[in-house]
Amino acid sequence: MTGLLAVTLPGVPLLVGLLGLLLPPSPAGAATGADRARRAAITLGVAGAAVALVVAVLLMLRVDGPVEGSTTWVDLGGLPVTLGYRLDGAALLVAVAVSAVALAVQVYSIGYLRRGPHDDVDVDHRYPPYAAQISLFTAAMLTVVVSGDLILLLVGWEVMGICSYLLIAHDRRLPEAPAAAMKAFLVTRVGDVGFLLGIALLGVGAGSFRIADVLAHDYPAGTLTVACLLLLAGVAGKSAQFPLHTWLPDAMAGPTPISALIHAATMVAAGVYAVARLYPLFAQAPAALAVLGVLATVTLLLGAFAATAQDDIKRVLAWSTVSQIGYMTGALAVGAPAAALFHLLTHAAFKALLFLAAGAVIHAVGTTLMSRMGGLRPAMPVTFWCMVVGLGALAGVPPLAGFWSKDGVLAAAEAAALDGTGPAPAWVGWLVWLGGLLGVAVTAWYATRLLLRTFLGTARMPLARPHDPPAVLRWPVLLLAVPAALLGLAAFAPWFADRLRVPADDSGPAVELVHLAPNLLLPFLLLLAGAGVAWAGWRRDPAADPARFLGPLRPVFARAFRLDDVQHALVVRPTTGLARAVRAGDELGVDGLVEGSGRAATALGAGLAGLHRAALPRAAAAVLAGALLIGVAVALIGVAA
């Protein structure tokens, strides 16, 4: 029964997604036909996500310890690849989060991708492929979550990449969407080069790709460190960690529900989850964890500072994701995978809430720029309060979800720094702890700025008539506000905390997710300081952007330290230049040699033919000369013989 449910979990969204792709993508003309295809797509999409959610909850109730099952998929020359699942408490909690967010996104999209009164007449949202791709995306993420085999995990991992590509490019009215989609896929794919090589090293070493076999195998230290570092390249790509984070802010070109899906439950969560899944390996490779700690701290601060200067509300949230994922990888680096997964879960709730609420704002005012919003609170009270909950959770206001989970991360980092409890050296703990504390203040600052710029002050677009969204958009937002507010308290339930334990076995101490200690006060004070500074700046002139206080740093932060330009100069341009050079070399050099030898043979033939086309006297002379030569040769050979 458990096995059947485990197969159903990714299987149903997969099936639904494949079926949805068969619907007519753009039912032309006939309004009735279009409506039927759209209704079918909605039914399939919502049903797929709902079934996945029910199955995930059922499994979570049934499964206690780790459960595994597998069957051979294919045997490639003695290296078996299995089709198997591996369920444990953490996997199922993540699966529930994934399918809950997917369901919210499917429902929300019904209202969000509908022809609105302001739209052009010819807007065609192409709903059937859109909903089908969300289903495939969900199926891929669930595959990553439950997979018991590294190759199967890789399948989900990459399918997720291609779904994000398709969905980011979905909006055909945005000229920047195709480039953003391509960037998202290519940057993550570059990371996946490492991921594939890491999996190859682990699988070849263990003689099997089953996660259980890989975890049980005793690798030489060098191999393990190299393999973990290679895996981290893939993790950095998927989870938008420095230096492969550049795709995530651009991915905002996708429809807002897709941003919620990518940022909350799928894609960026996959990297963190994969490390947690393979944590016993990473725990034996302190060098890899140290690298992860450095990257995490850089990412955490980079994302937080970049978020301070954005004007686009979605880009603020995108950079906040980069920063929050930095907290999760930081927790992994200091040896607290449970804290990382806890933050992953609360982040899934509040980030989905934030994006969907931001979508409601965008839906109402028709722009994503905060400089054209302001004063929306009286018109959109529901959205406002949901946004308050989401931003409070993001900044870590007690007792909202983010407060408890972020505190868990910081407490683990503090313990690693002060007591050296982590598997990585103590300086990694210091780095993550101090970076994390600074991040708390900056996060509070930009969260406050977002709230003030969007909802308070005077309206900067007086013509628009904002309103709370219709029910199909409102309910997903309202329901997501519940876990965003309360999920943190779940950490007090031993039932919940035990499930987050990685590795999920009976050994090891009980996981402590929350720390009611005096040092809770430190992040809280930093939070107050950050929020207070932003508020004070806004008070002085409610019409102006608090980001003006950043001074000369503002354009640097707004362009995220110009790392896009660095990437363009160091990777993109050399590659295209190399491509042009290789093409020229191939066509002129390699093929030139071939064509040249052909031409040379023709020319040689023509030359010889020309020699033979001589006038009679010269031809006669040549024949006689030839006869003479032959005669002389015969005579000489005869004498010699």
Binding site: L21, R126, I151, V155, E158, P175, A177, T576, V582, D586
Partner: protein, 501 residues
């Protein structure tokens, strides 16, 4: 004569007689119908070939080649030539793929004949090509192998020169001359082996058959060069872009889909099998060139601006992965090469069908003049997206297994050189993604260009019929790789058993 022997004969006799009938039947459409029917029957005949004696049990030393069905008749007794056919797990998937693609191409020709000649002549030539390719895959006699290998050449030349694009004559001449050059080497290689071993029987020859080291090195060099031209292996590839670009759609599909596979199949079955010592000796060079092909193919594609030419160059890269798998001389690598062969045939066949459809409709293949296909023809754009994504090696589709496991095999082989090759090949995978997405961005995204804007969104029934099997196969091989590989494990293990001895 057993049922299996009957099938073996039928697999060759059906397309041969179909070609004759298609050429002789009065009426163009009738000829095409007869030819298509013959191709269909051939496909039906290839399927039950799988039901033979797969016996990988018993005692004593096992032969390195143990066909499921075998037909061994004296042919020219004076020259000791034998008509020796057989099929096993290495050749059977390729046989089926060949028969399938030929049916699809003949069926497609029922609907549309490219300008240049009569339709039934085209179908007849396709069937002759099929006879040659199937014979190559089935032959168990080295001289017979060579003969079938050569049968393919002239009809393919005629297909390109007769029905091709504007620059068809030059491209066809280059194709014929270049591959003839390879054939000369193959002929010399075959006779080096036959003269030294005193037999042309591949079942006896496989494993070295007591050939001296020097003979094996010479034979492997000659044979590998010949197959490298056909596969093609960089830097012997430059006939391919011209031929693929100028050939008619069906010609490109057969060329990319199965004709190139004769090279990789020959490398596995003949070159590696007959001269294992030579293979071990040359493996590093072969692997290095294969990785160079991956990188060069991908980089050229990244700077390419013609649709069919881009797909043609992508074949160089994909076949590089296949050759890397072979070069590792591990069971994983050879199996990756086998499934890579099939996947490339399916996906590139589909890509050429789609590129042909786009070119026919828009009247141009220049990437600069194509854009916004998803606006005017969403289904065509969706199919192109599917084939392109499959071709970049997305897990879950056919292309993944061959490419990923060529890399895994190189890692498995170990050592500085092979690890470096694995890293470079994996990077080549990222470059593949780059050019595939560039292609999609140019062709499908953005505002429709004038050439694309006037396309009608619909697809013809014949097109859907020709493409659906390939789409399904790409998905099926991706999800159930055992379809291709489950039969290959035994033969590959046996082959490598004698090679690495």
């Amino acid at each position: 004569m057993t049922w299996g022997q009957f099938l073996l004969v039928a697999v060759l006799a059906l397309p041969a007689s179909g070609a004759v009938a298609a050429a002789l039947v009065p009426g163009d459409r009738a000829g095409r119908l007869v030819g298509t029917a013959a191709a269909g029957l051939t496909l039906l005949a290839t399927l039950p070939l799988v039901g033979g004696d797969h016996g990988w049990f018993g005692y004593g030393p096992r032969p390195a080649v143990q066909p499921w069905h075998r037909l061994d008749l004296p042919w020219v007794p004076g020259l000791d030539l034998r008509f020796h056919l057989g099929v096993d797990g290495i050749s059977w998937p390729l046989v089926v793929l060949t028969a399938l693609l030929t049916v699809l191409c003949c069926g497609y020709s029922l609907w549309r004949v490219p300008a240049g000649g009569s339709g039934r002549a085209l179908v007849a030539l396709l069937l002759v090509v099929e006879v040659g390719i199937l014979g190559t895959f089935l032959a168990l006699d080295l001289v017979l192998f060579f003969l079938f290998f050569e049968v393919v050449l002239l009809p393919m030349y005629a297909v390109i020169a007769g029905w091709g694009g504007p620059d068809r004559r030059r491209a066809a001449r280059k194709f014929a001359l270049y591959t003839l050059f390879g054939s000369v080497l193959l002929l010399v290689g075959v006779y080096v082996v036959v003269a030294a071993a005193g037999t042309a029987d591949l079942m006896v020859l496989t494993g070295g058959a007591g050939l001296s080291r020097g003979t094996q090195l010479a034979a492997f060099t000659l044979l590998a060069l010949a197959f490298a031209v056909k596969s093609p292996l960089w830097p012997l590839h430059s006939w391919l872009p011209d031929a693929h670009t100028q050939a008619p759609t069906v010609g490109s599909v057969i060329l990319a889909g199965v004709l190139l596979k004769m090279g990789t199949y020959g490398l596995i079955r003949v070159a590696v099998g007959v001269a294992p010592e030579g293979a071990r000796w040359a493996a590093p060079v072969l692997g290095t060139l294969a990785v160079a092909a991956i990188l060069v193919g991908a980089l050229v594609c990244l700077a390419q601006d013609e649709l069919k030419r881009l797909i043609a160059y992508s074949s160089v890269g994909h076949m590089g992965f296949v050759l890397l798998g072979v070069a590792t001389l591990t069971a994983t690598g050879v199996q990756a090469a086998l499934i890579g062969n099939i996947a490339h045939g399916v996906l590139t066949g589909l890509l050429f069908f789609l590129a042909g459809a786009i070119k026919d409709r828009a009247g141009t293949g220049s990437l600069a003049e194509l854009s916004g296909l998803r606006e005017s023809a969403p289904r065509l754009a969706g199919l192109l997206g599917f084939a392109a994504i499959g071709s970049l090696g997305l897990p879950g589709l056919a292309g993944f297994w061959g490419e990923a496991f060529a890399v895994v095999a190189a890692v498995q082989r170990g050592g500085g050189l092979w690890i470096t090759l694995a890293v470079l090949a994996a990077l080549g995978g990222a470059l593949t993604a780059a050019y595939v997405l560039r292609l999609l961005r140019r062709v499908t995204h953005g505002r429709p260009s004038p050439a694309v804007g006037r396309l009608s969104p619909g697809l013809a029934g014949a097109e859907l019929t020709a493409w659906t099997p390939l789409v399904l196969l790409a998905l099926a091989v991706g999800l159930v790789p055992a379809l291709v590989l489950s039969y290959a494990a035994g033969p590959v293990a046996a082959l490598l058993g004698v090679v690495t001895r």
